[in-house]
């Protein structure tokens, strides 16, 4: 099962990177930058009622290696703090709707920090593929990014589309003490407001997870974040090792309604 999906992922990733480079390609000398780091993440999901769930997702992005590029020193530092509480409506087992207020702080422990308040709405569709789950996620974001010069928070909007695939590796269902595979690619399009490029970012991820118990999963994977870092569309490559822990507060239970 993992063979064909890994092959598809590799091919998909290659095509996406080529497309991304082609779309924002330019003549002249590239000033692309690469950084390497780690991204710890935590996710807590709980039930409000049969159809409504809540989720708290917290992560931080750390640039782990100090680098000097073209005489500019890029120290190892915490690049971003991300706090995302959201409400999820299970419209059907194959369609979930969600909304959130998200707080993001770039360079959180430095004087040049930038706060961002974000609202978003999303729809995520899930379909069975092989023995796994193919997901298509559409998200519209209203971003209020702090302008440190005047203290204002102008509105900008962004649309994100994520295609993902996850599959248990030891059977058709993911049971406790079993491994699974998870991969996705996400396209970011800046619609309105200040932007470096319309197709502004692309994230590719592949990781393996392990279900510890009935409610907890841990996952380790590689996340490549590519983003246009200036109006000249120079790119920033962020190579991250993502370590995540996801837990469910409400254990799955069956109750007799007869």
């Amino acid at each position: 099962m993992s063979g064909p999906s890994l092959h598809i992922f590799s091919l998909m990733r290659y095509i996406i990177v080529c497309l991304f480079l082609f779309c924002i390609s330019k003549t002249g000398y590239a000033q692309d930058l690469s950084f390497y780091g780690i991204l710890p993440a935590f996710s807590l999901t709980g039930r409000i009622n049969q159809k409504v769930n809540y989720n708290l997702f917290v992560s931080t992005t750390i640039n782990a290696l100090e680098r000097e590029i073209n005489g500019v020193d890029y120290p190892a530092s915490n690049l971003q703090l991300y706090i995302q509480p959201s409400i999820i409506l299970i419209y059907s087992p194959k369609l979930n709707l969600a909304g959130s207020y998200t707080y993001q702080r770039s360079n959180p422990f430095h004087g040049n920090y930038v706060n961002e308040h974000r609202l978003w709405q999303q729809a995520i569709f899930s379909n069975a593929l092989f023995q796994g789950q193919l997901t298509n996620r559409f998200r519209l974001e209203e971003r209020f990014i702090e302008n440190r010069l005047n203290g204002e928070y102008p509105l900008s909007t962004r649309f994100r589309y994520q295609i993902g695939f996850n599959t248990p590796l030891q059977g058709k269902k993911l049971n406790k003490r079993e491994f699974y595979f998870n991969t996705y690619n996400e396209f970011y399009w800046s619609l309105t407001g200040s932007k470096n490029s319309t197709y502004s970012s692309n994230w590719s991820y592949a990781g393996f997870g392990y279900k510890i118990g009935t409610s907890d999963k841990i996952e380790l994977g590689y996340l490549l974040q590519i983003s246009a870092r200036n109006k000249e569309k120079d790119l920033r490559y962020l190579h991250l090792v993502q370590v995540s822990w996801a837990t469910n507060l409400k254990r799955p239970a069956k109750k007799d309604g007869a």
């Binding site: 049969q50 087992p93 995520i124 058709k172 007799d256």
Partner: protein, 169 residues
């Protein structure tokens, strides 16, 4: 077949005792010849055949999933003997009298409902229809598994929890 084991399984499933289950996929080579022969004889044109070992309350079952004549099948074996057959089908494929009775029951249970999955369980021996629905009653909506007899009489109704589709960042 070991009747004691089967009785215990049905008792636990129908009276809602805690059932622990764990399944893993297994290669065809590890499946007993008798089981493979049964599939070949009874479902000669079966395609996409997969095998799983399922452990339910310390009892080992072998399950085979495949496509046969346009429908998805799940056939379970215990001690190399047939234990349970499930056929996924469309609601419209259920015989009309049973279909009408089931629909009438769903209308009486829910103000609004949508049939998500429909299965025939043990069609050759002790036929039951297992229907998964999203149903609304008294302003709350939930997901249910309902079991009906061949005549369309409801014998069990169980609510089940649907977890959100994983989505981070």
């Amino acid at each position: 077949m070991n009747l004691k084991i089967i009785s215990l399984f049905f008792f636990s499933a129908f009276l809602n005792l805690t059932v622990t289950a764990q399944e893993i996929s297994i290669s065809e080579k590890k499946v007993a010849v008798k089981i493979k022969a049964y599939i070949k004889e009874n479902y000669p044109t079966a395609t996409r055949i997969k095998y799983y070992q399922e452990v339910i309350n310390d009892t080992i079952f072998i399950e085979s999933e495949f496509k046969f004549r346009g429908n998805k099948y799940a056939v379970m074996f215990y001690n190399e003997a047939l234990y349970e057959v499930e056929i996924f089908l469309a609601f419209k494929d259920i015989p009309t009298p049973a279909q009408k009775a089931i629909k009438s029951t769903l209308d009486s249970l829910f103000t609004r409902h949508k049939i998500l999955v429909c299965q025939e369980v043990n069609p050759r021996t002790n036929l039951l229809y297992e229907i998964t629905v999203e149903g609304t009653s008294e302003k709350s909506t939930a997901f249910w598994e309902l079991f009906f007899t061949p005549s369309g009489r409801l014998i069990k109704k169980t609510e089940f929890i649907v977890r959100p589709i994983p989505s981070h960042f």
